[in-house]
Every structure is written in structure tokens, then in C-alpha cells.
């Protein structure tokens, strides 16, 4: 009858882990389930309906904010990924050189600063520029998002580069490939999964941002998260659940792809 003694076992750990996973997913599950509620309660089930999804789709402000979010995240993630790829190429696979540590620290620094502080700094800085130039378009948000996306894009790209050695590039150079062709036909295809992972990470980070966007945006520049934040301070209807459910679905899809791209390394 006695179970085989398992040296890995610690009493109660599995129970706690199960409770944690349950508690982690219960609120999200409740949120999603009540997006399909026919009534306007968030805790009393009144039958299945897609009514709230339709409401959200017909809400001009929601569509507007969603499109703006995608636009900002798209541009910011592309620019951040290109800059991060270049920076990663410049900071890996080399003997230490003067300034290398500085670059690491500088690129990762935004991760160490509380978001609210960066948000305030950008509010002050951009409000000055707005006064000087009179321009108050989306560029401020795009630039701000690009900056905080760079370290996130940089991490997986750098990790990927560090697992590649220079043998193939040297072979290409020995066969008289130009530096550009070496990059184009050797480095880039090998690095591609890292770049893709970096891009997706940057895209999700930008899509999710609330604090910095909330401080930097001008009037009428709500993104989906800032719109939701505004609504949350008023009455909450299942329309919010419906928006969240769709948002969740998109995030999970991106994360799943990210997970598999990253897993297939080497």
C-alpha cells in the first residue's frame, strides 16, 4: 500500500499550486462567461446571448480606440524591433569593447524605472514640444511606445544571437559573400525566430499599455486600454466583458504563437 517514496515531494505544495492555478483563472473565466450574459448583471446569469458583443461592435468609440491601438502597436513594434535587432547585433558575439556594458545598461534601463515616472516625464517633455511645434498628433504616442518596446524586443533577439556562433558567417565571408549578402542569406534566416518573438513581445506590450498612454495622449486619442480605464471608473456593463474577451483572445493567440516560435529554438 505504501506509495513509493518520492524525494521531490513536499507536503501541500501540489495543493497550493492547484489553488493558485484555480485562483489565477477563475476571475478571468467569470469575466469571459458573463460577456455572454443576456441580462446586464455581471454575477447573475440570465441566459446566453451575443448581445453585448454586438453592442461593442456598434460602439464607435470602441472601434475607434481599437484601431488606434493596433495602429500604434504596429508601428511602434516594427520600429522597436528593427532598432533592437541592430542593437542586438552590435552587442553580441564580440570581445568586450569600451561602451558595451553601458549599452546593455542603457537599453535595459526603461525596465527598471517605474512606469508612472516615465509617464510623468513624457507628459512634461511632450507638453513642451506640443507648445513649441503646435503638433499634437499620434506621433507622441508612437514614439513613447517605441521607446518602452525596445528592451522587450531586444531580449529574445539577443538570446537567439547568443546561441548562434559565427562559423556560418565566416564560411560565407570565406566564399566571398559581401557583408550584406552574408547578413541577408545567413544571419537573418537564422535570427528570424528571435526577431519574430521580439516583435510579438513588443506588439503585446504596446497593446497592453495603460499608464504611459494615459499621460501622453491628447484629447480624443484614447487607445482601447485607456478607453476601458475611463469606462471602468463609471458603471460597468457586460459590454466591458465582451471587449475584454475579444482582447484576451487576441493576446492569447499572440502568446501561443510566441511560445511555439521560442520553443523551437536550435
Amino acid at each position: 500500500m505504501a506509495r513509493r517514496f518520492d524525494i521531490r515531494r513536499q507536503t501541500g505544495f501540489t495543493t497550493i499550486a492547484m489553488i493558485v492555478f484555480f485562483a489565477l483563472y477563475l476571475p478571468i473565466a467569470v469575466l469571459v462567461v458573463f460577456a455572454f450574459n443576456a441580462g446586464d448583471s455581471l454575477s447573475v446569469w440570465e441566459g446566453f446571448s451575443l448581445h453585448w458583443f454586438e453592442r461593442a461592435m456598434e460602439n464607435g468609440a470602441v472601434i475607434d480606440a481599437s484601431l488606434r491601438s493596433l495602429q500604434i502597436a504596429g508601428v511602434a513594434a516594427v520600429v522597436a524591433t528593427i532598432a533592437a535587432t541592430m542593437a542586438a547585433l552590435a552587442t553580441t558575439r564580440t570581445e568586450p569593447y569600451p561602451g558595451l556594458t553601458f549599452k546593455y545598461a542603457f537599453i535595459n534601463q526603461p525596465l527598471m524605472i517605474p512606469e508612472i515616472v516615465t509617464a510623468v516625464a513624457l507628459l512634461i517633455f511632450f507638453s513642451r514640444i506640443k507648445i513649441w511645434t503646435g503638433y499634437d498628433g499620434l506621433a507622441y504616442l508612437i514614439v513613447a511606445h517605441t521607446a518602452f518596446c525596445v528592451p522587450f524586443a531586444y531580449l529574445p533577439i539577443r538570446a537567439r544571437l547568443e546561441s548562434m556562433d559565427l562559423t556560418l558567417e565566416r564560411a560565407a565571408a570565406d566564399l566571398y559573400a559581401t557583408p550584406w549578402n552574408t547578413f541577408r542569406y545567413v544571419t537573418l534566416p537564422l535570427l528570424w525566430p528571435g526577431i519574430l518573438a521580439g516583435f510579438m513581445l513588443a506588439f503585446v506590450i504596446s497593446l497592453d499599455d495603460v499608464v504611459i498612454t494615459n499621460f501622453v495622449k491628447s484629447g480624443g486619442q484614447d487607445t482601447l486600454p485607456t478607453y476601458m480605464l475611463g469606462q471602468m471608473r463609471r458603471a460597468i456593463t457586460p459590454e466591458m466583458n465582451a471587449i475584454s474577451a475579444v482582447f484576451l483572445l487576441i493576446s492569447i493567440a499572440i502568446v501561443t504563437v510566441f511560445f511555439f516560435v521560442n520553443r523551437k529554438r536550435a
Binding site: 478571468i28 552590435a90 492569447i252
Partner: protein
């Protein structure tokens, strides 16, 4: 002679390489300088200016912003007293952040251990389940928490239906709600680094412990915990820093009364119209974070347990 030429050629090659490496990293460095690090110096400057009448600042030097971080000036006789309201908020922020760190550590440790001791195949799945909430919008997770704990929420509805209470428990808009929300939101940040260090755990050492008649508890405290300490410290810092600067979670779950530093800062740039004070508070917050990071760096340096 030829040897020296060859050497200087290598040297020249290396210089060119370094120069092109600087060129390559320029865009990333410039973007971060322009829209993340540079503006921080403006905040420092603003903290020493005078508030403007409608927000913004007047360009006259003043230390009033910094003075009013901790003190308040009586409007009638100009005497300074301790700013209780600010101290309460600072204390609440530090207290709640420490509590968040401790709670996530206590529940995150067994969770990470559970994942690390699964078989190679299922481990990926459990890890994936921890990662998903990490990458879903913080706002949505906070909303989910709000929906569950509010007066008409799931917990209160259930408790009333089962006749355990008559009146809904007021959970929303309390410090406890902020704590629950922050634990919920930041837990993956604790589990992931913990897992990373547990994954490398050498179970032969644990076996050795049992061979020497250690109890499971003793194995935990004398072998496992010392070995995964770097992960515990890393996770704690990853949870503590964003908790301290939290803005979204306290503003939604804490209501208007239970402010944290992040909300106090926002207030100065909104209704408070005191940008210098807001700037001084931001710098103060950053200093606290720096202190925590320094403590981390020192600890991580000294606790690199050597074994093997």
C-alpha cells in the same frame, strides 16, 4: 616590420568593428534617450520650479516642491508641519508592496516547485498556463478581480446565496482589495524567476539529504531554499518594484480614498495642479526603487552559492 604591420592591421580592423557596432546601436540608444531616459532629467529640473496657476510651471527656482513631499506649510502663519497625508500614502505604498512581495513569495514558491518537478512534457504546459495571465492586459486582470470582489460580485453573491452573510462584505475600495489585486496581477513575475532557478535544482543533493535522515521540512529549509535563493531575490525585486509604482490597480480597486504613490503623483498633474510636487514625488519614488535595486545587486553578488 611585417609583423607590426599585421598587428596594426588587426588593430585597425578591430577599431572599424567597434565603430560599426556603435553605429548599429545608435537608433536604439537615441530612441531610449529621447523618449525614456532623457525626459527624466526634465522631471528633476521641474521639481525645483514653481507651480503655474493652471498646471505646468513658472520658471522660478523653488524648493517648495521638495519641501511639500514630507511637510506642509500652514497657509496662515507659514509654519511647517509634517504632511500626514503624504506620509500615510508613502507608508501604505511600502507596506502594501512588501505584503504583496511576501504573499506572492509564499504562494509562488510551491507553485514554481510544482512546475519544476513535473515531467519534461507537462512542464511546458504548466509554464504556459502561468505565462498567459502574464501577457494578458493588466487592466483586464484588474477588471476581473473587481468583478469578483465587488458588493454585487461573485464572492458576495455566493456567500449570500448560501446564507453565510446577510449584507455584502465591503471588500472593494479597501487596502485588502489593492493587496489582492496586486498579488493577482504580479504573481507570474514571482513564479517565473523562481521556476528558472528551481529548474536547475540538482535533486541528487536532496537525495543525499534524505540519505542522511533529513525530514522533508529540513530538506526544504536547508537544501532547497538556499539553492534557489537567487530566484527568490530576483522574483521579490520583480514584484516589489512595479507594486511600489502601481497606478492602475490601486486606482480601480482602492477607489478614490486609498491612494498609493502612483495615484498621488497623478493627482499633482491633474486636479492638484502642482507639477513641481508631482516631479519631486516621482524622483522620490525612483530613489526608493534605486535603493531596492542596489540592495538586490549587493545581495545577488554575495549569495552566488557555490556548489557542485
Amino acid at each position: 616590420m611585417a609583423e607590426r604591420d599585421a598587428l596594426s592591421l588587426i588593430e585597425a580592423e578591430r577599431r572599424r568593428d567597434i565603430r560599426s557596432r556603435w553605429l548599429l546601436s545608435t537608433p536604439a540608444l537615441l530612441i531610449i534617450l529621447f523618449a525614456a531616459l532623457g525626459p527624466l532629467f526634465i522631471v528633476l529640473v521641474y521639481s525645483f520650479l514653481t507651480p503655474g496657476d493652471y498646471g505646468d510651471v513658472k520658471w522660478t527656482f523653488s524648493t517648495e516642491g521638495w519641501v511639500s513631499v514630507f511637510l506642509q506649510r500652514d497657509i496662515f502663519d507659514d509654519t511647517l508641519t509634517i504632511a500626514d497625508a503624504h506620509l500615510t500614502i508613502f507608508w501604505r505604498s511600502i507596506k502594501l508592496s512588501l505584503m504583496t512581495t511576501v504573499v506572492t513569495l509564499i504562494v509562488g514558491f510551491p507553485t514554481a516547485y510544482f512546475i519544476a518537478t513535473r515531467s519534461e512534457r507537462t512542464r511546458e504546459l504548466w509554464l504556459f498556463l502561468i505565462t498567459i495571465p502574464f501577457w494578458t492586459n493588466l487592466l483586464i486582470r484588474t477588471l476581473a478581480m473587481l468583478v469578483v470582489i465587488r458588493n454585487e460580485g461573485l464572492i458576495n453573491t455566493m456567500l449570500i446565496r448560501f446564507g453565510l452573510i446577510d449584507q455584502p462584505l465591503q471588500m472593494l475600495f479597501t487596502d485588502g482589495a489593492i493587496l489582492a489585486g496586486m498579488v493577482y496581477v504580479y504573481l507570474p513575475l514571482m513564479v517565473l524567476p523562481l521556476y528558472a532557478s528551481m529548474e536547475k535544482l540538482d535533486f541528487r543533493l536532496i537525495e543525499a539529504g534524505y540519505d542522511l535522515y533529513a525530514t522533508p521540512f529540513r530538506v526544504l529549509t536547508r537544501i532547497i531554499i538556499p539553492l534557489v535563493k537567487p530566484g527568490m531575490i530576483a522574483g521579490s525585486i520583480l514584484v516589489f518594484i512595479p507594486s511600489l509604482g502601481a497606478y492602475v490597480t490601486p486606482s480601480i480597486l482602492g477607489g478614490g480614498k486609498n491612494l498609493m504613490i502612483g495615484n498621488l503623483i497623478e493627482l499633482q498633474f491633474g486636479a492638484g495642479r502642482n507639477w513641481p510636487l508631482g516631479s519631486a514625488l516621482s524622483i522620490a519614488l525612483m530613489l526608493i526603487v534605486m535603493v531596492a535595486l542596489l540592495a538586490y545587486v549587493r545581495n545577488a553578488g554575495s549569495s552566488g552559492v557555490k556548489h557542485g
